[in-house]
């Protein structure tokens, strides 16, 4: 947590600079199956974040020495587009991206039935097109939807949210200014069905009680977002069914002619 400043992040009415209440999420929109070539894909808009996720696999792991004879390896690659942030980001993975890729891979692996696909890799590509704080969790949330779209068996859709501390208060889902000038940030991801914690990081300064409060708040929000993931998948499925029905109907009509 970074820069010192006199910016007031919570006003006298208890509202945040974007008008949200302390425990209020930014708007979230998820779409499934947005790419043609990928085995599965998803797009998420979360506040000012715009992120694409694509899944390839399970496919033969390459190079060969990376293969595991008893299970699939999960390779997530988190990447920020050069134009996704105010100051141009130099293309290619930096240390931050490598660390984020690692924790996202581990979080997804916790949910995937990797033992069903020995010697393969499941490759997850997360491209941040526009960044507005909370990209790792938004990317992870989209990635698990893309995994489901690819038909990969999982315990449940991994989902997350961050909570943090600004102006001495615990709040949900920090935006860019709050992340820059706030006092702590705690990204969290869970497997909703079991409520296991599969990703957790934290930086800043919080008391024990504040950490508990942040975890509880983030978990509650994650459970809510979990429904948005499922709705997005359902929407694609239903759309697909309607399309199929229409095609069948057309075929029937054509046959009749």
């Amino acid at each position: 947590m970074g820069m010192q400043s006199d910016i007031k992040l919570i006003d006298e009415n208890g509202l945040r600079i974007d008008g949200r209440k302390p425990d209020e999420l930014r708007p979230i929109k998820i779409e499934v199956g947005v790419l043609n070539r990928a085995d599965g894909s998803a797009y998420i808009e979360w506040g000012g974040n715009k992120i694409l996720a694509a899944v390839y696999g399970p496919r033969e792991a390459f190079p060969k020495h990376t293969q595991n004879p008893s299970r699939a390896i999960v390779n997530a690659r988190y990447n920020m587009a050069a134009f996704s942030v105010d100051e141009r980001k130099r293309p290619g993975p930096d240390r931050r991206a490598i660390e984020i890729s690692k924790v996202i891979s581990e979080a997804l692996e916790a949910s995937i039935f990797v033992e069903q696909f020995p010697r393969t890799s499941i490759d997850v590509y997360i491209e941040v097109l526009q960044a507005d704080a909370g990209t790792r969790i938004a990317g992870l949330t989209a990635a698990s939807v893309a995994l489901a779209d690819a038909g990969i068996p999982m315990k449940d859709l991994v989902v997350g949210c961050a909570a943090g501390k600004i102006d001495g208060k615990i709040v949900l889902d920090l935006n860019k200014e709050e992340d820059n000038y706030g006092e702590a940030d705690l990204p969290l991801a869970i497997i909703p069905r079991t409520q296991e914690i599969v990703l957790m990081q934290m930086d800043g300064n919080m008391t024990r009680e504040e950490v508990r409060q942040a975890i509880e708040m983030a978990k509650k929000a994650a459970l809510f977002i979990s429904n948005l993931q499922k709705e997005a998948l359902r929407a694609k499925y239903e759309k697909g069914e309607i399309q199929k029905a229409e095609e069948n109907l057309n075929a029937e009509v054509n046959k009749g002619e």
């Binding site: 970074g2 924790v103 581990e106 914690i197 599969v198 957790m200 508990r212």
Partner: protein, 261 residues
């Protein structure tokens, strides 16, 4: 050994360790919250501005601090710069390879860095030579020499010990030497989960069979300043809360024992 037989040995080992750990027992007889013996030798490398050799059980890490003048970051013109790097050199383990930093060494460096940075251990504002132009850059380099588990804690203790004994080499640049200004002493505590049990300071054997890892950095006020969950297993909320409470306690003890604070 072929990968296949590796798997079998691994499976047996894991079964055994999970069995004994379900009773809270460890293969080396430690209690779940007990560290291996820690021996820190500060000022091990005299060419460095600060250094510490850390032995944590059979794990050995050497941390060196070098300080040079340089440019501040544009968004923090009135602060010195801290950069942390870790090298998992091939000498330390048959599984380490030469070459550029990989995701393991990057995560290690970044977690140690976060504990130092977020606790505000170093008073970076006192490291300005000419505001906006020239500041002191503090390089913390972690050199892993012998890997027998828990590199995060060994490296973090080493970094803290080295920084507490660091002199800013002003006289080399026509200025005055001074002790690195330090305000806080963060201590990190790493837990791994084997079966359903949590253990601090995992040995390599324990790391190999653990499903998840959690590192928690605390400061002398008992506040949490950094956390990192690792590996592809999971923790329950209760386990996390428990680990946090223990890390505050253990951190206090280690801070007193190792750093006299």
């Amino acid at each position: 050994m072929s990968k296949g037989s590796d798997e079998i040995v691994y499976g047996l080992k894991r079964d055994y360790l999970e069995k004994i750990s379900s009773k809270g027992t460890r293969i080396d007889g430690r209690s779940p919250t007990e560290y291996r013996p820690i021996v820190i030798t500060p000022n091990y490398v005299l060419r460095a501005e600060g250094s510490a050799d850390v032995k944590l059980g059979k794990t050995r890490v050497l941390v060196g601090v070098k300080i040079e003048p340089g440019e501040p970051f544009p968004d923090t013109p009135n602060q010195g710069v801290l950069t942390t790097n870790a090298e998992l050199i091939p000498m330390a383990s048959p599984t380490f390879e030469a070459g550029p930093p990989n995701e393991d060494s990057i995560e290690l460096a970044r977690v140690v860095d976060r504990s130092i940075r977020e606790s505000k251990m170093i008073d970076l504002e006192k490291l300005v030579i000419t505001p906006g132009e020239k500041v002191w850059i503090v390089y913390v380099d972690i050199h892993v020499l012998d890997y027998d588990g828990n590199l995060i804690d060994a490296s973090q203790f080493g970094a803290v010990a080295a920084l507490l004994n660091t002199t800013v080499p002003g006289s080399r640049y026509g200025l005055e030497d001074f002790s690195l200004p330090v305000n806080h002493v963060p201590v990190i505590t790493t837990f791994v989960k084997i079966g359903k049990q949590l253990f601090v300071d995992p040995s390599l054997e324990e790391e190999e069979v653990s499903s998840a890892r959690l590192s928690i950095a605390t400061d002398e006020n008992g506040n949490i300043v950094a956390m990192q969950k690792g590996l592809s297993g999971s923790f329950t909320q209760e386990e996390v809360y428990n680990a946090i409470d223990k890390s505050i306690e253990i951190g206090k003890d280690i801070r007193r024992r190792l750093f006299g604070r």
